[in-house]
């Protein structure tokens, strides 16, 4: 599904990522953990085409994303739920969803997909005509996920979806992610909230100062002494 090989990139002349190698297999949930400033969002930006890799490769279903123009990346099957949600605040909920189906592949199915999103998130269907910016943080996060799903991705990439949300809402949203995964969606979950993320994911990577410093199954990572100290506060 997703193959990241020796990815190196940064901003201007400041290098942020060093030889990052990671993968997500079909139908898997993988989490990427790391402290603030480790380069998690930089990696997300590189995967979504906002940032050009300096070297290395990103393959999605054997298509090289580093050679794909940014606005065509969503068509190739990866959809991003950006950090801080970044929904379109002055558009209605429905318009936010419809604009998620912008790419050519998903466009013809937008009507059915909107209905499907409203089934997944009934809260959103109660607010169809409301301006997205006037909703609560949790609802905005649901909307951001819904908007990403409208692109009919095979891989969903989430950047810190739990940020700033009440634990009960986080649980709610992670439950939905689990469901989506059971229906066949692959997920790469970038998180600081290590416990919740490892409970959901099957495998994980640990990113520190731009390098992958650890990887393993969720069980292994949860048992790792150093990791427990650094991220779990145990």
């Amino acid at each position: 599904m997703l193959e990241i090989r020796d990815l190196t990139t940064g901003y201007g002349r400041a290098q942020v990522l060093w030889d990052v190698t990671a993968s997500v297999a079909d139908g898997e949930i993988v989490t990427l953990l790391g402290p603030n400033g480790a380069g998690k969002t930089t990696l997300v930006n590189a995967l979504s085409g906002i940032l050009r890799p300096w070297s290395g490769q990103v393959l999605l279903n054997d298509i090289d994303l580093t050679a794909t123009r940014p606005h065509l990346i969503s068509q190739s099957g990866i959809a991003v739920v950006p950090e801080g949600r970044r929904i379109f605040p002055d558009m209605t909920v429905t318009d936010n969803l419809l604009i998620g189906a912008y790419n050519k592949r998903a466009r013809p199915h937008h009507e059915g997909n909107v209905e499907r999103i409203y089934e997944i998130f009934p809260r959103l269907s109660e607010r169809k005509r409301q301006l997205a910016g006037s909703m609560s943080g949790g609802e905005q996060q649901m909307l951001a996920i819904g908007r990403a799903l409208m692109a009919e991705p095979s891989l969903l990439l989430l950047d810190e979806p739990s940020l700033g949300l009440a634990p009960i809402i986080v649980e709610n949203i992670f439950e939905v992610l689990k469901q989506l995964n059971q229906e066949g969606l692959s997920i790469l979950l970038v998180e600081q909230n290590a416990v919740e993320a490892l409970n959901l994911a099957g495998r994980g990577y640990v990113l520190e100062e731009g390098r992958i410093v650890g990887e393993g199954s969720s069980g292994e990572l949860l048992a790792d002494e150093r990791l427990r100290k650094a991220y779990l506060g145990l």
Binding site: S48, G49, I50, P70, H71, L72, I73, S74, Q75, V80, P82, R86, F88, P89, D90, M91, D95, L98, I99, G100, Y102, N103, K104, Q130, L131, S134, M135, S136, R147, A151
Partner: protein
């Protein structure tokens, strides 16, 4: 689709009614300045609506309206005024020359990511300065001597000068408004509004941002230039200082922001209100107060109606239209001043209507429909 057909029918009906006005004016012996007033309003509606296609839709703030306008003015001034082309042959080139200049600018600024925000705004301002310098230097364009449009013959079927100006500006305004509407309702419009809200996310969702921004800039420049091409006739004696002054860009910004930039109708409403107020101020002999007055008015209105007048009155259009009609009727019965004054009073009625805050309006209308912020409060109590 159905709503689009209905809207286009509406445009056609409005066009036919407005097209009949010069005949009516002749038959009913209206004062000549009614037509001048109307086609000057068409001019401003076109300029601000075309500006809004770029800045309102995509969020890229432009001071470049003077540049597109100026390129259009000088295209017909040079071709028809100096080279002796027939006016209607020169006119389309006014639009296309502005389009080419606009696209060249776009190629540079939209390719360089560092030129976002304020730098984009300043770059568009600089384009007008550069064009003014070019016009001043080259004698074939202006050379500091100005250009005369007063002896340019107009085709006979357009009628005398005023009706001819009226008809040409009307056609260009309708083309501009239909384009603004079609973009607004299309995938292009959606993409542009997404760019306005968050360009990075828009690109991530598959919006071809570069192409869309070029399209918006192109449409803006084309219609601004086309209307400029006609306007050279009204100016008569074209000079660099006058054409490339800051007047056009400042007024289109003022008009669009006041009317509301998030809807294609916003600039239309804003242009009508501001142009009519300024026109009546001038005719009442207060020319020097204009800038003080307009400046204060803008501050006040922008603070009071942040989303623009149009979006405010759309929610209460029945009441607004009734008030407009009532004021017109009352001033026709009780007041013998010119129609333009009556129009101004009625527009001030609309303004007043827009100034009523949403909350107060709901109390006035004796209706309780929760606003988005209120329904949010409701939900939070349910959550708790």
């Amino acid at each position: 689709m159905k709503s689009r057909r209905r809207a286009l029918t509406g445009f056609a009906v409005a066009f036919l009614i407005l097209l009949a006005v010069p005949h009516l004016a002749e038959r009913m012996d209206w004062p000549g300045f009614y037509l001048t007033f109307m086609f000057t309003a068409f001019f401003w509606i076109t300029q601000s609506s075309s500006w809004n296609m770029l800045t309102g839709y995509s969020g890229y703030f432009s001071f470049g309206q003077g540049a597109w306008f100026g390129v259009g003015v000088y295209t017909t001034a040079v071709l028809a005024g100096k080279q002796g082309w027939s006016f209607l042959a020169a006119l389309p080139l006014a639009g296309f020359t502005a389009l080419i200049v606009g696209l060249l600018l776009g190629l540079v600024v939209f390719r360089l990511r560092s030129l976002g925000g304020e730098i984009f705004a300043l770059t568009t301002l600089a384009v007008a300065f550069v064009l003014a310098a070019i016009a001043r230097i080259f004698a074939a364009i202006d050379g500091g001597r100005g250009a005369f449009m007063t002896s340019v013959p107009l085709p006979e079927f357009l009628g005398e000068f005023r009706p001819a100006m009226y008809r040409m500006t009307l056609v260009i305004m309708m083309l501009t408004l239909v384009t603004a509407y079609l973009i607004y309702e299309s995938r292009l419009g959606w993409g542009l509004f997404a760019i306005r809200d968050d360009e990075q996310v828009a690109r991530g969702l598959g919006v071809p941002t570069f192409r869309y921004k070029m399209a918006a800039l192109g449409a803006n420049a084309f219609f601004g230039g086309l209307m400029g091409g006609v306007w050279a006739l009204q100016i008569g004696f074209v000079t660099v200082e006058d054409v490339f002054s800051i007047r056009v860009p400042l007024f289109v910004i003022l008009m669009s922001v006041l009317g509301g930039t998030r809807h294609w109708m916003g600039p239309v409403v804003g242009s009508l209100i501001i142009f009519t107020i300024v026109d009546r101020f001038n005719s009442a002999g207060f020319e020097n107060f204009n800038q003080v007055f307009i400046g204060s008015l803008l501050i006040l209105l922008v603070l009071a109606v942040r989303e623009g007048i149009y979006l405010r009155i759309r929610e209460r259009w029945v009441a607004t239209a009734s008030l407009f009609g009532l004021i017109i009727a009352a001033s026709v019965i009780f007041n013998s001043s010119s129609m333009v004054w009556k129009f101004l009073w009625a527009l001030l009625g609309i303004l007043l209507m827009a100034l009523i805050p949403d909350r107060a309006w709901q109390k006035l209308a004796l209706r309780r429909r929760p606003t988005p912020s209120e329904s949010r409060e409701d939900r939070e109590t349910v959550d708790a």
